[in-house]
Symmetry: C2
DNA sequence: TCCTGCTATGCAACAAGTTGCATAGGCAAG
DNA sequence: CTTGCCTATGCAACTTGTTGCATAGCAGGA
């Protein structure tokens, strides 16, 4: 029930077409909310019938036309109501942790495969951290925030950075533990 | 597609009824995989028809009978196959981060409500960290692991502890940022 | 020239997860 | 003695998310 609200925040920050939204959900917004383009188009349609967003047809040269969506007053109201509501407890779904506990029931070869997988996974997170840090240098070069929006975007990005650093340290712990099992 | 595998790991660690599984998914397993009892009963049924698990009727005094489930050989094989498969990228869904970026479009009163919500959220995570640390002292009192299973359970728990510590530090950062917006 | 990839939007079928409800006995507090 | 909570299992309806496919023009490389 919160993809609607994530889309509202995204459109308030910057109006966009469904396609552009999908790309932003693959990049900056994807740090805290993922969504496929199919989902975004479907939800945008529902939000339009609810009067939360409105589209404007934009013709383009050498490309298909697009519909630029923005948040409508009813959408702003809905967002304000949702912001006042209690934060729902998160649904945790950490596949890697299941696999690690499952490794107790695998043989030596199975554990070796898992170690390789964890290494690959670690490399992905290292690359993600590097991207976040590059984004931080690019978008927030001075410590003092320019305005409320930038300050809030920056603190969310710092959360992503802290998360990735924590994950990397934990994965090192995991690798050491897995390796110690088979000497 | 991974609730099945989380259940298999849980049953290999300790056979249990659907009800007991649901409680464990509310506690230790819930650290990395959440599931409601309705979901667990439904999936257990499917796993039974697939021959992944088998039940044994257990009569109890003063309580309803229960069905104690254990992992069947086909389930062990399925788990081993899954352990060898690549780790899927996680679907991130962090409602609080959406709300924080959304706070840029709220008024002073709306932001004050959010600050109160973040404080409550922080208290919940502080309590969770305390529970993890108590569980660690209880279940892993000596640094050297007794066996593979304990070592792997412990490293997953350390991940939960690291995560909660990171979240608490970040929430302090968030609170300071939110408060600085309105002096 | 053909093949791949990008922009741009969308439908349909399916899988997974949530919410609400139902049953039913025992046990403890008020 | 009634009300609520715990154990124990489960169905049905609904919402959300995933996978696969379709269309269509343009650009760039093999």
């Amino acid at each position: 029930m919160a993809l609607e609200h994530a889309i509202l925040v995204a459109l308030l920050e910057q109006p966009a077409s469904g396609y552009e939204l999908a790309r932003r959900f693959d990049r900056s917004i994807g740090r805290f909310w993922t969504a496929s383009h199919q989902q975004i188009y479907r939800v945008l349609k529902r939000m339009e019938t609810d009067g939360w967003v409105a589209a404007e047809q934009v013709g383009q040269e050498g490309r298909p036309d697009k519909r630029r969506w923005s948040a409508a007053p009813a959408g702003r109201t809905a967002l304000a109501d949702w912001l006042r509501a209690p934060v729902q407890p998160e649904a945790v779904r950490h596949e890697l942790a299941v696999k690690i506990r499952g490794a107790a029931f695998a043989d030596r070869a199975g554990r070796a495969t898992l170690v390789a997988e964890v290494e690959r996974y670690r490399a992905d997170h290292e690359a993600l951290l590097a991207r976040y840090l590059a984004g931080e240098r690019r978008d927030f070069p001075d410590a003092a925030a320019r305005d409320a929006r930038a300050a809030l975007q920056h603190v969310v990005l710092r959360g992503g950075i802290a998360y990735e650093r924590m994950v990397l340290a934990w994965l090192d712990d995991v690798l050491a533990t897995l390796r110690a099992l088979d000497h």
